[in-house]
Amino acid sequence: MEYEAVIGLETHCQLKTKSKMFCGCANEFGAEPNTNVCPVCLGMPGVLPVPNERALQLTALTGYLLNCEVPGFAKFDRKNYFYPDVSKNYQITQYDFPSTTTGHVDFEFGDGIERVRVTRAHIEEDVGKNNHFAQHSGVDFNRAGVPLLEIVSEPDLRSADMAYEYLNALKDILIYGGISDCDMEKGMVRCDVNISVRPKGEEKLGVKVEIKNMNTFSGVRRAINYEVPRQIETLESGGTLVQETRRWDDVAAITESMRTKEHAHDYRYFPEPDIMPLKPDETWLAEVLSHIIELPLARKQRFVSDYGIPAQDADVFVGNVPLGDFFEQAVEGAKNAKAIANWVINNLQARLIETGTTVDKLKFEPAAIRELVAIIDADIISSKGGQEVFAELFENGGSPAAIVEARGLAQVSDSGELDKWCQDAIDSNPGPADDYRNGKENAINFLKGQVMKASRGKANPQVVGETLAKLLKG
């Protein structure tokens, strides 16, 4: 019997805000314990939460980026459970009226594009951090109250690799959109993985196992690659699976049942009475929408189809947005998009990295690259000349035409002078000339070199070659 894996992911990402979700403490990683805290996030008696507007904007923006609905009514709820890192022993979250619902993420997987549906993306507060020691644990509330976006996928994933690609695509979108820095080292992204298996073709879902709090994507991949076979093996050998939460042991590379006494989790959700409902209106949403950016995959596909450049070039322009924007301006109305892409990727990007400059600090306009390519394509200068023009552009700005003029870089292509140089070279070098006439093709290169020298590099090498050949053949 063939089985298929059915996987869903709940991804938690810390939002890129200055302050916490319900109080003004800094949203900052790495501070000394319990220094980014106040009575509110410490759950002191008498405190009240006030929601962070930017966090709600970023949540709505995420909704737009994930093709979600952003309804006109949402609210906060209390999720009640006792745990040392939960300062109020309830977490303020969104239960039945989240800020966004029903969207999807498209991403590259294998040879094609996969789509994973998103059930919802909602906003909640993060909890503190438990540190464990030999005889006791210690709690740091710096993280308590940080705005946390929870993105819940439908169980549309079918393999560990697919899950891995989905997570990376999601991370790219969130970084792209300025939603979250998604810095895994700083614990900004955590996943809960829901895994079940079922016979291929079966519609009913199998028994679900949850693996919580994974903090690397490769860890997620490893855990799925262990758990799916485990479940299949269990079923095939006649065993039964139990719905449970398991822990992934990255060292032993296994999932294991959590032996601790599982206290019944009845979260007793009810609407948060201290916070008023959220009713985003058109003006507010329009402001959010004005910050929407093109998704990475869409951008890549557009660059490839609109400009006919290869996928790997498009990838560069997806990975470096300002560079890609520069390219788009340069390529406007141009004939040779590929050449422009080459200049931008091979020359401009290289120079930028070398000098540690950014695109916005360039001394020349994108149109200059377009002009440069046109001049080269028209044979006005050689590609070597082009290099010189580019170097000058980067250093001091200006326009290619002016630089060519100022440095006398224009190639000589017209026959008058060229013929004379060629004839001179042939006359001065009878040896190579004869060699050529006798079939030694390469001998022409020496003569070419002589012409280039005589012309101080200004002769158009292609035309020189043609002219020499013509004259030698007589």
Partner: protein
């Protein structure tokens, strides 16, 4: 929904409140009475009535994303029954 459904041990557990056996018995009886009394609400037809979540019709009460001063670590820990190295100490958490 009868008062017999009321399992005081389960609910006290959920509320993380340890009760002595005689407290359990007493509270169970009293809560049984109270639950019996509040059943009165079933007499009403609430079809189509919205639940009243808030007493005032406000919406979108938000704050600007600005950092405000936190309190110093000593103040945060000043009331802690047990603390060490800047952390609130609790019995070992086994996950």
């Amino acid at each position: 929904m009868s008062d017999n459904d009321f399992d005081i041990q389960y609910v006290a557990n959920l509320a993380r409140i340890a009760l002595l056996p005689e407290q359990e018995a007493r509270l169970a009886a009293q809560l049984g009475d109270i639950l019996g009394y509040v059943k009165k609400l079933e007499e009403l037809d609430v079809t189509g009535v919205e639940p009243m979540a808030h007493a005032v019709p406000l919406a979108n009460v938000l704050r600007t994303d600005e950092v405000q001063p936190s309190i110093p670590q000593e103040a945060a820990l000043a009331n802690a029954p047990k603390q060490a190295n800047g952390l609130f100490v609790v019995p070992k958490i086994v996950e």
